[in-house]
Symmetry: C2
């Protein structure tokens, strides 16, 4: 078994972390939508809301890619964006966690 | 002056009716958005809201065409959809009001 293959336990952890992050992000979008709706004022506000949702949806469709070949990077990105903490990934191999941390470092250094 | 040209007074009435209908429709969309937001439940609700706004925006972009050559039909459509009443168009020539009524009849008979 290669260091990059996912054990049954790891797959379960990954799926849960992935879904958790997704729900957290949706929750955050819902909160933003609520805030915007409560302060509807100008006639264009409803279209600004539409633009906001279009952008978030595009971003999310791109980001949530559940292929095992992509997951390390996806998790790194979700940690950077604040939708996952390392404890959500507890139980993944040390090798994978290390790779995620390296990805995060790399992404942060490129900012 | 042709029967189809718009006097200064008619242009003023038309502009006001057009803007009034637009605001009424936006108001209605805002109400629908509020209703949906209040009952957010499933994780897809936020994308259903996005789909709804995409559809309404496309519809509105198509419908609100302020060219004098189009206005008779636009007003007929807005009356059919319930965003204008004939009193909003009071002051337009009898010729134009008649044309609007005919358009409405035609549209209704084609349903």
């Amino acid at each position: 078994m290669s260091e990059w293959s996912w054990s049954k336990t790891e797959k379960k952890i990954a799926r849960k972390a992935f879904d958790t992050a997704y729900l957290r992000e949706i929750k955050q979008i819902e909160e933003e939508v609520k805030k915007r709706v409560e302060s509807f004022k100008e006639k264009n506000d409803v279209w600004d809301l539409h633009d906001y949702l279009t952008e978030r949806r595009r971003d999310i469709d791109r980001k949530y890619d559940y292929r095992y070949s992509q997951l390390i990077w996806v998790f790194a990105r979700l940690m950077i964006d604040g939708y996952l903490k390392e404890e959500d990934l507890e139980g993944l191999s040390e090798h994978k966690l290390l790779a995620i941390r390296e990805f995060i470092k790399l992404a942060r250094s490129n900012r």
